[in-house]
Symmetry: D4
Subunit: 249 residues, 8 copies
């Protein structure tokens, strides 16, 4: 239904006020132009689309990527398997795959990056999740500073990087095992820290729950947590924060 048309009809007496009122009340929300209900679009606009590839059928995936490709849209696909990549590539040779972060992307337009987000990891095994966070942030236009393998068992390496980390608007702390990196970072820097527990570990690490609890119980100020292995979520929220800060520069 067309709202403008309805009001015109009221004006032109082609519909009674009572009938128009009835129609408006039954109006499907979406048709009324409730763009405000999808404000996320504003963040993404001019950047591209995100696809959660995990569990998606190949044909479905090819279809999605082709449609975006035809509209000249950049695409960031998270949690893609190598098999998905190989099949999509046959249909659309332009796609690129990062085996570390499991990101399957098309970049048709150059992305202009601003501000700064620091992405830190406790160990080398946390890097895949960190790369998901970092590449998500870059996709949406943030500069990213990567500082990997600076966990508490080698805390002097972290201390030597502090000046660099202070230059960022937001810090992402990615760590499994004991997960103390989030606390340590929030204790050392005065910017918002988003902690990502990873499922890296064995024994009583319970697939990341141990790191998650450590991060939630941090006594340092300025730390919030996303789900286990949720690099995308951290990268997205860090971008929201970075944008707010960049407007000021």
């Amino acid at each position: 239904m067309d709202l403008y048309k309805l009001l015109q009809d009221v004006k032109n007496n082609q519909i009674s006020i009572e009938d128009a009122e009835m129609q408006l009340k039954k109006l499907p929300y979406e048709d009324m132009g409730f763009a405000k209900l999808d404000h996320h679009r504003s963040l993404r606009s001019g950047f591209g689309e995100v696809v959660f590839c995990q569990g998606k059928a190949i044909e479905h995936l090819i279809h999605i990527y082709q449609r975006f490709y035809e509209h000249d849209t950049n695409v960031l696909g998270t949690r893609a398997t190598k098999e998905q990549y190989e099949e999509v590539k046959k249909a659309l040779p332009v796609v690129e795959y990062d085996a570390l972060s499991h990101i399957l992307s098309i970049q048709k337009k150059e992305i202009n990056k601003t501000g700064c987000i620091a992405v830190c990891t406790g160990g080398t095994a946390d890097i895949p999740v960190a790369e998901e966070a970092a590449q998500t942030a870059e996709f949406f236009g943030s500069k990213v500073l990567r500082i990997y393998d600076v966990g508490v068992a080698g805390i002097h390496r972290l201390l030597s990087k502090l000046d660099e980390i202070h230059s960022a608007n937001c810090v992402i702390a990615v760590a499994g095992m004991e997960g103390a990196l989030g606390s340590v970072l929030a204790g050392l820097v005065d910017k918002p820290v988003i902690a990502v527990p990873t499922s890296v570990g064995y024994g009583a690490s319970f697939g990341g729950v141990s790191a998650l609890l450590t991060m939630l119980n941090s006594c340092a100020e300025g730390l919030a947590v996303v789900n286990i292995d949720n690099g995308f979520g951290a990268g997205y929220m860090a971008t929201q924060i970075n944008r707010l800060a960049v407007r000021a520069e």
Copy 2:
């Protein structure tokens, strides 16, 4: 040890280079003036000091508040009991107590508030935690918009407040029970949402764990979580974000 003095001694040949090098390597970190290790001070500077009152002895508390009072410093004490308030008041009649948020404060200087943080709750029982968040944010100079009792069981009330919420730089979602408010808000607004699960509930709510899990598993973008009932933590991080945004205005 005085670093300047040491270097002078090197210059004046009163200490050999070898000995000076040795002393520098053994130097306690703090004495070197590692102010950069307490960057949080920059956020707080000009605002005041925070005291975590829970479990602190009365005498100890009185001592702390008196010292700050004498230095004309504003104080925000969280998780204070009524008993603590009454005893501190005897010694220092200027303290004020908010029975809802359990905040025990001294405000000697007017606080200039800027930007905007929206604090929302699912039910009325979540308000004490929300107030801890809101008053923390205000203490550090953020304007706060309070939108309470807009949980998913009455989602139309939330929808009617969306325009107001969109004006904020950061949203805090406080909810117990099923804790879905965080997801709903992150699905509707494009600003960072900090979710605070509360221990409100009964049965299988497990003291807030149910709400915590809901929030961690949100499929909406732009959401991070702090510990159960940690209003202070949410208010602090929201302030960090709000400051980044305010610099731009």
Copy 3:
């Protein structure tokens, strides 16, 4: 805002179509008459209001009860303490309190009861939760058949009551400890069974979690579960089902 008035203004050229469209899009949802968003009202209409008393301040409670009393509305207050009762009674001597179910009620109008809901318990310790369910169902106009203390350790007592239970449109099974009553009932009757685990028990009963898991894992067909001790929730849903059935008689 008045929707009818707006459309009249459009018709009378007192507002441009563009401006009317703008106003409609920004219109708070509630003001548009979205009564359909509170369909629960239809269930309750003519019956009365529910108050969740747990944790509510005395003054607040007195205020609520007085307002409903003045409007000749029946009130069902759940989880009221004896202290709350005694204070409210001072202000409003007409309130009644059931110490077993912790229900604090005002009944100004006779309730006409129809259909039938069977409320069964495993043991005598489960009766408080069962009474919350039963009295909730009665408050909303359902007849209730109480069959208590028929748990699996004395299954012959349950078998002797089967004919009575078959006469109900819906069965509520309230049980703690091993919680097998829900399964047994769903295996014996062909009506929907709503199972309520209770926190009754000790040792590895974990405050009702053991009974909850038993009920969720039932291999009998036609069983769904509400939260631990949530008699109100079971009574409410059973009433919804009973109403659907009663329309047929």
Copy 4:
């Protein structure tokens, strides 16, 4: 033993009263014609038989399906694997398999469908469980309205479907991840809502436990929960409710 025959013998003095009493007391329950102990039969009668295929051996499965086929009985097999399907098909080419819901069925007689059950999902990944629920309900004679992918992260899509959902006698809410769909639906409609948590998710979703807890802790009225991924259980109970309602039309 034949009860009628026994009584005849009593009458004809071919057995003493004492012996007859003894025999009656030792009588296996089933032989006494305790049809009332399998009332579920009445729900299914005229519809067909259900087979839980998971873990069943191929030969066993073929035997069951053939026997039902020869008796002209419809069969609904849940949780069948593709391998089971392919083997059964060799012996009985008439079987049909729905790869999405994992249902392996024979439909020899047309099913007359009445009433209405709405089956909603939070995301696309929840559809297999939803289809198990929907096809179960259809198998037992319910009309089903499918409304998929209307989770809280895109709540405006759900709102636009509310009128359709209100036409149902019972609503099934299928959701994983944060599982808030159940609460949202129960807050918006006044019919019984059966919530099915799904094991869809990652990180701290714990194979559906997070969604399960969310649903149990819902503060909306009129919601009960079945086991994780238990689409069949939800479809069965919804059918019981739908039948009660349909009798009225």
Copy 5:
């Protein structure tokens, strides 16, 4: 209904066979004399009655004890509080209370004890639960051998008692903390061992769950477990086993 009377009526043609068959099928199970459904009576017969005192109202308790007293029945009341004892004693001075085991008993008839059950504890803190087990076993006619404080941290004390323990027909192992006593005993003796985890402990003992898990995971043969702190259950089952053995002597 009287079964004998019914059969007489059939014989005397005062009821048709068809009507008698109908009545028999609707007959409440209990009325048919299904004594076999309460076989536990046979264990208790000649011994007395058991009352679970926890949570029972004083008046209710007094009523129960008085009735048994008047029938010359021994009574074993478990989990009685001192308050319950003092009130019951006022009405019935003959009751006795064991503050250690929380057992409130009346012994009107001498109990003849046979066979042997060994009750062992890991520490002194486990003795209250052990006494509940021991006194339950004695109440039902078992001789009991008490061997307390022989946990694994002092395993040599246990070894020195092995000959005595071997004389029993059944062993009860009561232990909290690490709960290894059950395993050790089952590894050393060839009689059934019933393990009772206790809620004694702190830290990660989780109210007895740690001891429970230890006992369930025992790699020793001939061990089964009852609920945390369930001394009564262990004493009862040990008595069943002891009786089977005693018949042989």
Copy 6:
């Protein structure tokens, strides 16, 4: 060291009393002939040996079976895989494998079976665990009565078998899902009931934990529990009880 020899040397003055005393105190326990430390041998003696096959290497397994075979010993191997069977069979064609119970056995001598143990299951999926229990009991000389698929969802089937079950000295209740069979049996019979939770189930059954909790929380008397899927443990303990009873016949 040879104890007899030592004493002889004392007698013959070939060693001083002091030295003999010293040697005795340092004597390795085993060498002293502590046969009493392996009393389990007495249960097994004349029956055979048990092998826990799970995880054992093929060569190791073949070696064990061959050694027992050469000594004319019966062997009961639990948790053997089909692969283990096939490899052992090549070396020792006499071994037999039961694919249901995963038992790999050699029976060289006829086993004389006495007494009676009833083994009941809730569903057909519990039969593998039940067979492990039943065959273990038979291996050690117990008669076994198998009563399968009598769970609470079809409780009338169980009731019709009660007389048979009463003839046993001990009852084993094997059940997964909601696990209520143990409670129901203990409520109906007066013999010791050993409950075995199984890992059968899905959703919130947590690999048998739900059934385990149900069984531990049973309010019926005379029930103890072994570990999840531990059919061997139940069969072994039931045999111990059966032996005690059989001595009486």
Copy 7:
């Protein structure tokens, strides 16, 4: 029985070798002088006795303390309440109570302290547990270095104390909340670190479980963990290690 006497009898032909052998095999272990079974005595010898006061009855406690006092033995009582202290003091005025560590002690002999153990805490709330550890270590003769409130949120304070910590033979890390102190210390020093999680915290700290998991999952080398709040256990084991090291000096 007297072993020497027995051997003498053998020698003197007052008992046959066969009878002596029999007696030796049945000999209670303890009587054989198995002092080696209580090797812990060697650690304590010359230091004193330990009493676990928690839950002990007053009379019992007084009795124990008096007996040790009369034997001039030092006593270390852990987890004593203030009430226990006050009652024991009436009978034995010499006892001393440390309200912080809840230690109730008698020190009759001076303790000579050697070596060094560093006891560190994350926050001030962890001090009571740390003091239990420290005073236990001192009681058994270790020098203790206390370094409190050096948690990761203020890591620079910890770094400035490193040289002192390096002087210890063993480090005890006491921390609640996120519990990262153990990792940080083990990453920085090359001595064994014993980590004690404390139950300090709120929200998702779960009474110390969060800190416990953090410590177990530490990726730093040289760290082991004791139970939550188990200061005594840490102090005892640290003393064992310190003694081994001191022997070398």
Copy 8:
């Protein structure tokens, strides 16, 4: 930056004191020669390097091993798969692989072993973890005494080995299932016991959590715990303790 050079410049007036002070404060920590921050090096020095192989890419692994090989360094690689071994061997035929402990090592220099560590296991299935501990300890220069399969179900075998165990400076107790070995050992010996829970078990052993809890809750003194299956961690810490003791000999 070169600290010596900077001080020289100060002395030679080539830099002002103010500038030198500034540079020192900004100096990356590492560049200052903070060797003291890697004290672990001192333990390893002269012994070799450790590689955690799990999850490492083959090329990466080959690179690491080749570099160490060229520097004549011994290498201990833990958690290596057979596949990793075979690939590394192709490039570097000198590597050796122990399939039991999954250790992939190069030993170029003879290791001189001192002191003694006893490594005990409960069952044979715990040996792989025990070997990881034992070989780690040997790699760093400790003598190791292996005492396997001495769990509590066969406690007499453990007792016969006590004298040997007492000769060690530190005991490692490796056990799964009920995990009681740690307690038993700590109760019998007076040296520090490091307990390693293993993931060996089934049913309610929860991948080692049951054994972990048993060990944490031990009431024996002198016991600390490392993570599930963490043989390396136990071997490392035992080596630290052994070294402290050896210095004394």
